[in-house]
Subunit: 185 residues, 2 copies
């Protein structure tokens, strides 16, 4: 929404707490959840990102309906959503994968390896370009930036020059700077 | 494509084999991958399903651009893509989560539990309706049908009456019947 300069209100909510106000908006208690003026709620990045981008097509964060370019952007969003996001879970929350605590270090190690495979694919995809699709910043890059930030914090970006450069470009964007300043406050 | 009656050609490919022809279409070696007449390739269900549905809007498998209904359908597609699909992985491929074989039974057990949580959410969402969104079969139901079939094969649908009924309705659809007959052949 910051990239698109649309009006919005951010509500910070605690997660994984049964009494969190997020449950009134999303019964699964998860973010992101976008509540519209009419009260309806959209969840999942795979739905929220295109919905927002389509509010202001001229910003070029997505592409026209039916175009191959649009599918390419959504393909990256899908990949990030299904593969990359989930790949961080074994690393951050091994208890979701086994009740046996003795298994957790092995699950974390394997998790780092699996993330490495995905990062290598992304690195290769960015070899000859600044942004994932169409030579411009799109919702795919906005979403990628989040995970590159996570990977960076876990020291997983070493040796991935393209990804480091992508993250640096992403962090230079005024909308990203504003969002991060807000989060830090 | 069968639901939409669009022309297509199915290519069966072996997976997880370095010499599989899928690598010429998708460098990650994964399905689904949709190759268009101009040679361009779309991967990820989150991109392929909307692309196909938008080829024939009158079939109602999706909804108009910018509508909340469209976002609701894509929200389910995103949920199935990011949460449900990945939830089957610990059950089917615990080696992706730990190199220690002794940890695999615990990972499988936990995997069944996690799938159960997701199925309970889906069961509740279908309590008062036949299909996920808008009172009609959409790409969200087409995608859900795949995972309910998986869950059924793993005996995970016991007690989930709504899901069993959804799967039965899904299997009654001529396009699904034709696809399953083709797969079995």
């Amino acid at each position: 929404v910051r990239e698109l300069d649309l009006p919005y209100e951010v509500v910070k909510v605690p997660l994984r707490q049964p009494d969190s106000p997020i449950h009134q908006v999303n019964p699964l208690g998860r973010v992101p959840a976008l509540q519209l003026d009419d009260g309806s709620v959209i969840t999942e990045n795979g739905a929220i990102l295109p919905f927002l981008a389509d509010q202001k097509p001229e910003a070029g964060l997505l592409a026209p309906l039916g175009s191959v370019e649009r599918s390419r952007i959504l393909s990256w969003v899908g990949f990030l959503n299904s593969e990359v996001h989930g790949a961080f879970r074994p690393l951050n929350r091994p208890e979701r994968f086994s009740d046996e605590e003795s298994a957790h270090p092995g699950i974390r190690t394997k998790g780092r390896q699996q993330i490495g495979i995905l990062l290598a694919h992304l690195e290769k995809s960015l070899e000859d370009k600044e942004w994932l699709v169409g030579g411009r910043f799109t919702i795919a890059d906005a979403y990628l930036g989040v995970f590159l930030g996570w990977a960076d914090r876990q020291q997983l970006l070493e040796g991935f020059t393209q990804l480091q450069n992508h993250l640096a470009r992403y962090r230079e964007r005024p909308a990203v700077k504003a969002a991060q300043a807000y989060e830090a406050a």
